[in-house]
């Protein structure tokens, strides 16, 4: 039972354009959401997070939007750069636990 879903396994975007990565979840008790970025042969690195009491969080080129009624979050990267090419995982934290539940990942390719 996949509680966190990333339905697009891959995304290809031209450099300078916007990349939008999507994530859906099923458990309304998640209270924190995170995005991680992973390059091949490296561990995931934290990118940006959002609390369930907010609907938007911005950090430079990266913005995460949360729509609780739809149980949906998205990561926007503007403008996209070739160095953004990586696998992106969304993760959710259930209430009162330090565990994270990860999605299956979306491979982003930014081409010149």
């Amino acid at each position: 039972d996949q509680q966190v879903k990333q339905n697009s396994p891959s995304l290809s975007v031209q450099e300078g354009r916007i990349s939008i990565l999507n994530c859906d979840y099923t458990n309304s008790m998640f209270d924190y959401f995170l995005w991680y970025k992973k390059y091949p042969a490296e561990g995931p690195t934290f990118l940006i997070s959002i609390s369930s009491i907010k609907d938007k969080n911005e950090d430079g080129r990266f913005t995460v939007f949360l729509n609780k009624s739809a149980k949906h979050l998205s990561l926007h990267i503007v403008p996209s750069q070739p160095g953004d090419s990586a696998v992106y995982f969304c993760a959710a934290s259930p209430h009162n636990t330090d565990k994270l539940i990860f999605g299956t990942g979306t491979r982003l390719q930014v081409f010149p």
Partner: protein, 115 residues
């Protein structure tokens, strides 16, 4: 700067061997985690430890055990390796999530192949 290190980047073992994967963190984090990453399946939690000698099963603990004798070190043990345990193994650590931000810091991963 948080650092999580894993004992091997690449490991090749034979079916039936006992395998130890070691993870060390230098930030005095209470929580440590072991995941495996497989194509199309994302990161799946194997075991979780929230304190020395404390452990909790994750989503896929079968065939694995763990040991945490010191706060900074968390070991994953494959008692009798099988080919379906060929995977990328990732260790992570985090502070107790007092503010709700449960950011985990990951090691570089160990690519294990079981022949």
């Amino acid at each position: 700067d948080v650092k999580v290190t894993q004992s091997s980047r690449y490991l090749v073992k034979r079916t039936g061997e006992k395998v130890f994967l070691e993870c060390v963190q230098d930030m005095d984090h209470e929580n440590m985690f072991w995941y495996r990453q497989d194509p199309g399946l994302g990161l799946r939690l194997i075991y979780f430890s929230y304190d020395v000698k404390m452990k909790e099963k994750g989503d896929i603990p079968e065939g694995y055990s763990v040991s945490r004798e010191k706060k900074e070190r968390f070991s994953l043990i494959l008692e009798s390796a099988s080919t379906n345990q060929t995977s990328m193994y990732l260790c992570a650590s985090s502070l107790v999530g007092l503010a709700g931000n449960n950011e985990q810091f990951f090691g570089p991963g160990t690519r294990l192949t079981v022949l």
